[in-house]
């Protein structure tokens, strides 16, 4: 057992120049390095997306503000949404998946390491392409710039007639390119889990994090492709004069909506399910008990994967579908709440009767539980179609989905960050700064997103660069902006903690949390080959069996 492991993330021979180091990172096919690259890439875009959000919030702080022009504001909300979904949340998810899956299933790397690298660089190129639009989006007529059509780019606003210049083309092409990267990663995850599990690890003995990523990878294959198809159609419309979404030629604007949301709804489950996986690893360790109801957790995840493909048109309750259509989608949306709710209860069951340790990863998990509960309940409100007719496209729905994406997904990702930081870098983060980040972020999050529901209830639509005074929206918007500033400070503390701890943190050792899955059996950071000898496992918690030979798990599972 090599407990005197490397102190730094990069295994550095003394004579390596900066050029050599950079080259080794750029040409790497090691899943761990690619995972870290994904995560760093996502962090960078988190900051950029956060700046875009702050610009919007300053503009909306008071009514009839003149901080930015309407054109700029419209670019901001488009870029903020596109960036956060495609270049923050998805790369984060893939980064953690890449880093952890081979380690958790006892493999040396992903099934297709070079495809892995290609997928990352495609995603990175997509991000670059999207941001190049600020410079290169002007067309012949000097119109354009960054895309300003909203992150779901409804037609016919995206047609040549209404979207001048190349801004929409940058949106389309950057997502097309990074979409191929996503599909590549999904192929890799499935092939890895199917073919590279260590001896003894049947699917029933695989930890929940890889399980949830397996479900997500399947969803990516099925759900990202419709977006690719729709974007190809949009490109054909814009460049070759096709009429897919050309309402003047009999085309249908609603068809784009269907295609987009057939992608868009499973997409948000693609983002949240891996976070469930993180929670299902962190909560047991910090409650000192196994996850409550493992088989049902797997079943519920698979059920969510399938049912989430049938709910997409709840984003379209207001487009004038028939009452049959509205009723169907209301029903399926309410149904998907059941397996989702079950998971909350299973985590509650894990906490119950345990010995809860309130370290930073667990704090983020607990906040997740409260916040995901709220987010799910506002989701139920939105699933009632008539209620949705009032709430959709208003700040209520903006508050709801930020509650999911920030309050649940980002909090879960922070939990994962703090939990696996020692494994990835070999050092412990600073616990005091971690707790400070947590409390500040909770404060800022609630200031912003709790009160954001209210203007929506009072009639404030989304995507407006300003609003009239006297509608009762002013004070709430001010509080929302204040919360955004607090969140920004918290993120800075987080980044500072990461950077500081990477160099000055206490050495972590293999297993600082006394955990039970395979990644904690190797050094921190792991050697390039992961395992000196591929392990054989007999239960879902191999290290529990090792630490408690008198009471192994496989006697009870």
């Amino acid at each position: 057992m090599s407990s005197d492991s490397m102190a730094l993330a990069t295994v550095r021979e003394p004579s390596q120049s900066l050029g050599d180091i950079l080259t080794s990172w750029v040409t790497t096919v090691d899943h761990k390095r690619l995972g870290i690259l994904y995560i760093l890439f996502a962090l960078l875009f988190l900051v950029i997306g956060g700046i875009e959000a702050t610009i919007m919030r300053i503009q909306l702080m008071v009514p009839l503000n003149h901080f930015v022009s309407p054109q700029t504001f419209n670019q901001m909300f488009t870029m903020h949404g596109t960036t956060m979904i495609f270049f923050v949340a998805m790369p984060m998810v893939f980064g953690f998946a890449n880093y952890l899956i081979p380690l958790m299933i006892g493999a040396r790397d992903m099934a297709f390491p070079r495809l892995n690298a290609l997928s990352f660089w495609l995603t990175a190129f997509g991000g670059l392409l999207l941001y190049f639009s600020f410079v290169g989006g002007n067309g012949i007529y000097g119109a354009g710039g960054a895309p300003d059509v909203g992150w779901f780019a409804y037609s016919p606003l995206t047609s040549r007639a209404f979207s001048l210049g190349h801004s929409t083309d940058f949106w389309t092409l950057s997502l097309l390119v990074s979409g191929f990267g996503s599909i590549g990663t999904a192929v890799n995850i499935i092939a890895t889990i199917a073919s590279l599990r260590c001896p003894g690890m049947t699917l029933a003995k695989m930890p929940l994090f890889p399980w949830l990523n397996l479900v997500v990878a399947g969803m990516v294959l099925i759900a990202v492709s419709p977006l690719t198809a729709a974007q190809v159609m949009l490109c054909l419309d814009r460049f070759l004069g096709a009429h897919f979404f050309d309402t003047q030629a009999g085309g249908s604007a609603v068809l784009w909506m269907h295609f987009f949301w057939i992608f868009g709804h499973p997409e948000v489950y693609i983002l949240v399910l891996p976070t469930f996986g993180i929670l299902s690893e962190v909560i047991p360790v910090f409650s000192r008990k196994p996850i409550f109801g493992y088989p049902v957790m797997v079943g519920a995840s698979v059920a969510i994967g399938f049912v989430s493909m049938t709910v997409w048109a709840h984003h379209m309750f207001t487009v004038g579908m028939s009452s049959y259509g509205n009723t169907f989608f209301a029903l399926t949306t309410m149904i998907v709440a059941i397996p989702t709710g079950i998971k909350i209860f299973n985590w509650l069951g894990t906490l119950w009767g345990g010995k809860i340790i309130f370290k930073t990863p667990m704090l983020f998990c607990i906040a997740f539980l409260f916040q995901f509960l709220c987010a799910g309940l506002t989701g139920i409100m939105l699933s009632a179609a008539p209620f949705n007719w009032q709430l959709s496209a208003s700040y209520f729905v903006v508050a709801h989905f930020h509650y999911v994406i920030v309050g649940a997904i980002l909090f879960g990702i922070f939990a994962g960050f703090y939990y696996w930081f020692p494994k990835m870098t070999g050092r412990m983060y600073n616990e005091t700064l971690g707790k400070l980040h947590f409390w500040l972020f909770v404060l800022g999050f609630h200031l912003t997103f709790d009160f954001m529901h209210i203007p929506g209830l009072l009639g404030m639509p989304r995507r407006i660069y300003t609003y009239e005074p006297g509608r009762g929206w002013e004070g709430w918007n001010l509080i929302v902006t204040l919360g955004a500033v607090v969140q920004g400070i918290a993120i800075l503390i987080f980044v500072g903690n990461l950077l500081y701890s990477m160099f000055e943190g206490k050495l972590a050792g293999n297993d600082p949390w006394d955990a039970w899955t395979l990644e904690w059996s190797v050094s921190s950071p792991p050697p390039e080959y992961n395992f000196a000898k591929i392990p054989t496992v007999f239960s879902r918690r191999p290290l529990w069996d090792v630490k408690h030979p008198e009471d192994p798990d496989w006697e009870y599972e």
Binding site: A253, M381, N388, H446
Partner: protein, 388 residues
């Protein structure tokens, strides 16, 4: 004006409000329960969560206050419905809120209890707690109960979907065709021969002999959405598609709304106003809209400029050479309270500024600056001000 109180309002003050002011009994009960819960919970996180619910409930409660207004408040709250479909939606939303509120209370309390009760204490012996893997009975219970809740919610929802979407227009219905443009609303009353823009007039509806307004929704360019929270949920206007919605207001007044589907640069200022008039006033309004255009010699100069510049390509003034449909019909421009779809009041200065430089009021709107000289500008403004 009536600003909704910030959540820093003391709980005591809320409880002290007379019952008639806070609303129905159920509202007060919910407020009391949340207040007690906040007092009891000792954890900041929980408090923050509870404030969300309290503030939402405060909105619910305070929105019922009807004291000072003879007409509708300028706050377009979905909890102050004044029209039949909005009222159906409101009843459903209350039902959903109560159910989700109860679920929230139950799960929240359990979570709170578990993180307090099952903390690892300092003096513990370092042994692991009992390793429980699951319980079929418990897991069955917490699958079946949510299933039943979903069933109940779904049935309630389906009922309202049908009652609102499949409502049949009774005799006496006013029919309106709304056409969404970037960035203004065109309203046509096909049976009455009236064409106007941005401000919709409808008669108030009597519950015994209802006179709702059924609105057909079309679009001339991109997607828009017709939303007046107090009158109904929103319905989109989508090109190459015919949608429809209806309102049945029960109280006179002015109701505010705006476009709720991002349609381009000036989506934010594509505002909506609905004037719910008494039947007599409505008839008067219709009659005045049906009158031919006012011809006045004192504004002949302005009229000449109007008809010889590009104005007539976009705008229509019945009985004159101006016959464009790209911009609003101006025949009775002075009968409207606002211009530029609500972005500015219909005053002399604002009208003049709008014609001189639309971007000063609504940057990115599709009306070009007409580059008129000052005297021409004054003349045209005077001409438009004659169009009553």
């Amino acid at each position: 004006m009536h600003r909704i109180a910030k959540p820093s309002i003391k709980i005591r003050a809320v409880l002290a409000l007379p019952r008639e002011m806070v609303g129905r009994r159920s509202g007060l009960l919910i407020v009391r329960e949340f207040a007690l819960m906040i007092r009891r919970s000792s954890i900041r996180l929980a408090k923050a969560q509870a404030y969300l619910r309290l503030s939402a409930v405060l909105v619910l409660g305070l929105s019922r206050i009807r004291c000072c207004f003879a007409q509708a408040s300028p706050i377009p709250s979905i909890f102050r419905p004044e029209s039949t479909p909005a009222e159906s939606i409101h009843r459903l939303s209350n039902f959903v809120l109560i159910i989700t509120g109860l679920i929230f209370l139950a799960v929240f309390s359990l979570l709170l209890y578990s993180i307090v009760r099952f903390r690892r204490r300092q003096d513990e012996d370092g042994r692991e707690p009992p390793q429980v893997y699951g319980s079929n009975r418990i897991e069955l219970a917490w699958t079946v109960i949510p299933g039943l809740i979903v069933l109940v919610l779904f049935l309630a929802t389906a009922r309202v979907i049908y009652s609102v979407q499949e409502a049949a227009p009774p005799p006496g219905t006013i029919r309106v065709t709304a056409i969404g443009h970037q960035f203004w609303w065109e309203f046509r009353y096909p049976d009455l021969g009236v064409v106007t823009a941005n401000e919709l007039h409808v008669p108030v509806s009597n519950r015994e002999k209802p006179t709702p307004t059924f609105i057909e929704l079309l679009s001339a360019d991109t997607d828009h959405s017709f939303w007046l929270p107090q009158l109904n949920g929103k319905t989109d206007l989508i090109p190459n598609r015919v949608n429809s919605t209806w309102i049945e207001p029960h109280a006179t007044g002015t109701y505010l709304g705006q476009c709720a589907q991002y349609c381009g640069t000036q989506h934010a200022l594509m505002l909506l106003r609905v004037y719910v008039d008494t039947p007599e006033r409505f008839a008067q309004w219709v009659a005045s809209q049906q009158l031919p255009v006012v011809q006045s010699d004192s504004v002949a100069k302005g009229r000449a400029i109007f008809e010889h510049t590009a104005c007539i390509n976009c705008h229509r003034i019945t009985g004159t050479a101006a016959n464009g449909t790209f911009g609003p019909d101006l025949t009775h421009l002075m009968s409207r309270d606002t211009i530029a779809s609500g972005a500015a009041d219909n005053t002399h200065d604002k009208l003049r500024l709008w014609i001189e430089n639309p971007d000063a009021i609504k940057p990115g709107s599709l009306m070009p600056a007409m580059k008129l000289s000052d005297p021409d500008l004054d003349a045209v403004t005077a001409y438009l001000e004659s169009l009553r």
